[in-house]
Structures are given as C-alpha cells and as structure tokens.
C-alpha cells in the first residue's frame, strides 16, 4: 500500500454532498426491529404460580404473589428498575404468560414509577 498525500480528500468531498448519517433520534423516532426485547408484559389469567420465572430471573425483578388462598389467582409485581430485559422469563414460563413489547424509552424521574403491578380483576 502506497503513501499518498491526503487520500481522504475525495471521500470527504463526497460526504459533503451526501445526506448526513446522523440519526436525529429524539426528534425523529427510528423504528425498532421485530423481536426487540422491550418491556416485560404479564398476562395474569395464564399464570399457574409455578415460580420458575421468579427463580430464573437474573435481576430478581419479578415477584409473584398469590391473591387468594383458595383460587389460583396471582398478581405479578415487575420491578422494571431492576429488569435487564433478557427475556429469560418469556423462555422459562411453561404457559406463555409473558411477552415483550417494543417500548424502549423507559426513563422516568422517580424509580417508584417503574414498579408495575399486574393483577387479574
């Protein structure tokens, strides 16, 4: 490979008239790909209370609480401030109670707002 004087000049001039590669993210939203791992969504009627997800969750972000002693009713508390969006709960759940949505702008000013409760009415 030979040494030239300022070999980048042609490429730079080409860039000058090209559309900039910058993504103006917060002003122009870009779509997320299909299968993106966003928020965990819980579907209370399907839960059978096997607790596999609680044991498997690496971030200890899931709490499953039995609502009534007699019925098989469970509520789930998702600590979204701890969730690492690995989707292991989706894989582990035998009844497909979980799925991930495509939300990724999760920042809030108060961590308490990230605690989400899913309850069967």
């Amino acid at each position: 490979m030979s040494i030239k004087i300022a070999p980048f000049i042609p490429e730079m001039l080409r860039s000058l008239f090209k559309k900039p590669a910058t993504v103006k993210y917060p002003f122009e939203k870009t779509p997320v790909p299909p299968g993106f791992r966003g928020n965990v969504v819980f579907d209370p009627p399907k839960c059978i209370g096997c607790m596999i997800c609680v044991n498997d969750c690496p971030a200890e972000a899931i709490d499953i609480i039995r609502v009534s002693e007699t019925e098989k009713k469970f509520k789930m508390i998702l600590h979204n401030d701890r969730c690492i969006h690995c989707a292991q709960c989706v894989d582990s759940c035998p009844t497909k109670t979980y799925h991930m949505d495509s939300e990724f702008e999760l920042a809030v000013l108060n961590r308490h707002q990230l605690k989400i409760e899913y309850k069967k009415d």
Binding site: D81, N110, R111, H112
Partner: protein, 156 residues
C-alpha cells in the same frame, strides 16, 4: 503431538515429580503435583513440551485447603496443574521465574484468597480498593456479603 502422546511423555519423564496425571476431557490434561515441585513441573512442561502460555491461575476454597490450578496451554492442549495448600499455612511458590506473565494472576490470588505467594517479585495489592480492610479475602467461602436492603430514593 497430541494429548495422548503428551500424557505418555509426562508419565515417562516426570512420573516421580507428579502425583497424578490424567486426560479428563478432550484436549485437557489434569496433573496434580505437590506445591514444592510446582516450578520443576512447569519448567519441564515449558521447555520440553512447549507449554508456554499460562491462561490463568484459578484458586478455589475447598474448606480445609485451597486448591490452586495453573492452566497452561500449548498449540494442541491445555494442562491444568493442580496444587493444594492447607488453610492453616496458605503458601504457594511463585512461578514468575518460569513464566513472567504470571505476576498479575498471583497478585490477584493474594488479594482474593489471602494466599501467600513466596518470592513474588511485586507483592502489592492489585484489585482491591486502597482502603480495603486487611485480612478480608472475598473469595474465601467463609467470607459472606450481606446485601443491604435496597433503598430507592424519592417518595412513593
């Protein structure tokens, strides 16, 4: 050269220096030696069989004793040279004279397990914080970390 010939060679040449040599998995040889013979065995492996690359030194707390494993590789296989050192007298010899690259791993062992590496060229602490209390070795099984309750700032 393949793992089988290497283990034959080890058994032929330094049978008297090692306690045990076995092929445990594909391309993995386990060798057990007494800690006073460690440097001789490593020198032999390095000079006769071309085991020059020390992957790492792992320590493990077995309760009564500490296990220290030197993972040393050449182009075809890896030898795990294992020594044991009693908890009462946790001393291991330094291998820096044979493998100069071992220094950081030995310092890490000193920090984490409180092993005393004899003749180490540079005994300063490596990984722990400057104000870490003396005599606390986090990877020992009797060192427990009590996780504090999580405090989430801000109101409900």
């Amino acid at each position: 050269m393949n793992p089988e010939t290497i283990i034959e060679k080890i058994n032929d040449d330094i049978k008297d220096k090692i306690q045990e040599a076995a092929l445990t998995a594909p391309r993995r040889i386990n060798v057990k030696v007494g800690r006073e013979r460690l440097n001789e065995v490593l020198t032999y492996l390095k000079e006769q069989l071309g085991f020059t690359h020390l992957g790492t030194i792992s320590g493990a707390d077995l309760g009564e004793s500490f296990e220290v494993v030197y993972h040393i590789s050449n182009a075809v296989t890896t030898v795990n040279v294992r020594i044991l050192t009693p908890r009462a007298e946790p001393k291991i010899p330094s291998v820096c004279a044979v493998i100069p690259g071992a220094i950081l791993y030995e310092r890490e062992l000193q920090d984490m397990f409180g092993l005393v590496v004899e003749n180490i060229p540079d005994p300063r602490p490596l990984l722990l914080a400057d104000d870490w209390p003396a005599g606390e070795y986090p990877l020992r099984k009797d060192w427990h970390f009590n996780r504090p309750a999580e405090i989430i700032p801000g109101g409900e």
